[in-house]
């Protein structure tokens, strides 16, 4: 009897340690539960085709979410990422049409980086909450996308080799697995994830990011340059949003003024599902990407299930329920730990 109790106690202790040490466990458990559930109830769900589809659908939002999560950990929001995504898409597409896609790539990273810096500078200069600042620039940058494009849809037909590198078929993997349909953007996403995760956990800069969001005054008293941290995070977020626009264009060869609209909220939702605190100071890039996967999985699963009243174009309602559910579940797990 005592053996059983102590084993259970030991198990609970190690679970506790695991949950405390890594905020990714909660969201991962939630995601796996949903995945298993769909595998059971939706007959055509468990296939490489579906799995690769879920991943592909998650990568664009995923790239944006990495930046948004980093920014949220430092205590700030960026609602302008969707607009910067459209700008990135246009800048890249327009140069690709002229036969200079590399210049396009450069511009699509550089201009959104500058726009991100502008978000940060407005925040620092005015001390208006970033939620409001970027609510404003969200519309301004959408207007900029309109000016760049003249309001017109940009659609190309010619295939360029650079599209294959940025977001083509991942043939190496696809050939190995029958029915798989992975894209190269998954590799980019993974690389960026590792890079930003490293920055966050293994560098002094990452320490300052957590401190800036966790207790601004304490961090400043220790000599951390809070405005600089926030400015750099806004620049990273802008650059990643521009890159997401490039990936999007490489896949679809199409960009509209409205491209990326709503991504800002999906990214925040994913970050929160992944364990990030809205008030800053806590969060995980891994967790946020699991959050993106979770939302993408739900979307795919719900579409496959073909439930009455919830056809493909009404899955947002389910996603909404899932966001609240996942956060409640995470909270419950953490409290028990």
């Amino acid at each position: 009897m005592t053996v059983v109790t102590s084993v259970v106690a030991g198990w609970r202790l190690s679970l506790r340690r695991l949950l405390l040490s890594s905020s990714v466990i909660g969201p991962l458990a939630t995601w796996m539960a949903i995945f298993v559930l769909f595998s059971v109830v939706a007959s055509n769900f468990l296939s490489l085709r579906t799995v690769s589809g879920i991943l592909n659908a998650a990568t664009l939002t995923g790239v944006v979410t990495i930046g948004v999560t980093l920014l949220m950990i430092s205590g700030e929001f960026d609602l302008s990422v969707g607009s910067m995504m459209a700008i990135g898409g246009y800048l890249f597409g327009q140069q690709a049409a002229k036969g200079t896609p590399l210049l396009g790539l450069l511009l699509a990273l550089l201009i959104p980086a500058v726009l991100g810096a502008l978000n940060g500078l407005i925040l620092i200069a005015t001390r208006i909450p970033s939620f409001i600042v970027t609510l404003g620039t969200r519309s301004i940058y959408r207007g900029l996308a309109w000016i760049i494009s003249g309001g017109a849809l940009l659609q190309l037909t010619e295939d360029l080799p650079i599209y294959e590198v940025l977001n083509g078929r991942l043939e190496v993997v696809d050939k190995l697995f029958e029915g798989a349909n992975f894209r190269t953007s998954v590799v980019w996403l993974l690389g960026l994830l590792l890079l930003v995760q490293y920055l966050l956990i293994r560098t002094d800069y990452g320490n300052h990011v957590f401190a800036a969001g966790g207790n601004r005054a304490a961090a400043a008293a220790q000599g951390v340059n809070i405005p600089r941290v926030k400015l750099v995070n806004f620049i990273i977020t802008g650059t990643l949003a521009g890159f997401a626009g490039v990936l999007l264009f490489s896949q679809f060869k199409t960009v509209r003024v409205a491209t990326g609209a709503g991504t800002e909220l999906s990214a925040i939702a994913a970050a929160v599902v992944g364990g990030a605190l809205l008030r800053g100071g806590s969060g995980s890039i891994w967790g946020a990407l699991v959050g993106v996967l979770l939302i993408s999985t739900l979307r795919t699963g719900v579409i496959l299930l073909n439930i009455p009243f919830i056809p493909a174009d009404n899955f947002e309602a389910v996603v909404g329920v899932a966001i609240i559910g996942a956060v409640v579940f995470n909270d419950w797990l953490r409290r028990r730990a």
Partner: protein, 255 residues
């Protein structure tokens, strides 16, 4: 430096004729404040007396409107918290010392992380940081379970101790404690007071800011009392009773 001009080289810091105005409000008026070397100086005053303003001038948060500051007999311009820190002035604030969501180690080294660089790549030496955090806290008499534990899981006294231990580790010459015991239990207060004695024994000078004389009476060597932005007086230990000091703080007694 002309020693004749500043004969009191027994002071680690001297603030002379400090005035501070915020718009039309005068927060400090001609304040002289000295901290003798390796002593605990209590800075006493009621809420709004100007204690925080005076200390924020010393720590580089505010600039004085008028007045001079001498640190180890050299005149200094403390125009940012970093300058204060580089001089060896470490401050432990009552509630904003640590980031609760971060580990003890990450707090301990916040802003002074141990980093190794190889070209453009840099990384934290986390193992070394953990080791140093643990050993230096043990050295000042603070026992922690694990340096990777989040600060939020510690008690108020433990947090205060870690902030003090951090200041001592990083070679503070002058340790400023802003209301270090006002939120603590009696047992925890006793512990924090023992760290203050420990700091003094290791050669540090300490400024202990409080509005309650009972908190600092045990450890202070001298008292400076502020009222309405002006100095009431500086008194040696034993010169006044606790009741006298309390009366001077509130203004029941003039001096």
């Amino acid at each position: 430096m002309n020693q004749a001009e500043h004969p009191q080289d027994g002071f680690v810091v001297e603030m002379k004729a400090i005035s501070k105005r915020f718009g039309t409000i005068t927060a400090l008026e001609g304040v002289d404040f000295q901290v003798p070397r390796q002593q605990v100086m209590a800075l006493l005053g009621d809420n709004g007396a100007g204690k925080s303003t005076l200390i924020k001038i010393l720590t580089g948060v505010h600039r004085p409107t008028r007045g001079e500051i001498y640190f180890e007999n050299r005149q200094v311009e403390i125009d940012s918290p970093r300058v204060a820190r580089d001089l060896g002035i470490e401050t432990v604030y009552q509630d904003l010392a640590l980031v609760n969501l971060m580990s003890i180690t990450r707090n301990f080294f916040l802003g002074r992380e141990l980093v190794r660089e190889l070209g453009p790549i840099r990384w934290l030496q986390l193992a070394e940081m953990n080791r140093l955090t643990h050993s230096s806290l043990v050295e000042v008499g603070i026992d922690i379970r694990s340096p990777s534990e989040p600060v939020g899981s510690l008690s108020g006294g433990e947090r205060q101790s870690i902030a003090i231990g951090r200041a001592m580790h990083f070679g503070a010459k002058l340790l400023i404690l802003d209301e270090p015991t006002s939120a603590l239990s009696v047992a925890e207060t006793r512990k924090v007071l023992s760290y203050i004695r420990n700091a003094k024994d290791r050669g540090l000078s300490v400024v202990f800011i409080t509005h309650n004389v009972n908190h600092c009476y045990e450890v202070s060597d001298a008292y400076t009392i502020l009222r309405h932005g002006k100095i009431v007086g500086t008194y040696q230990r034993g010169e006044l009773s606790q009741d006298d000091i309390a009366a001077l703080i509130t203004g029941e007694r003039e001096n």
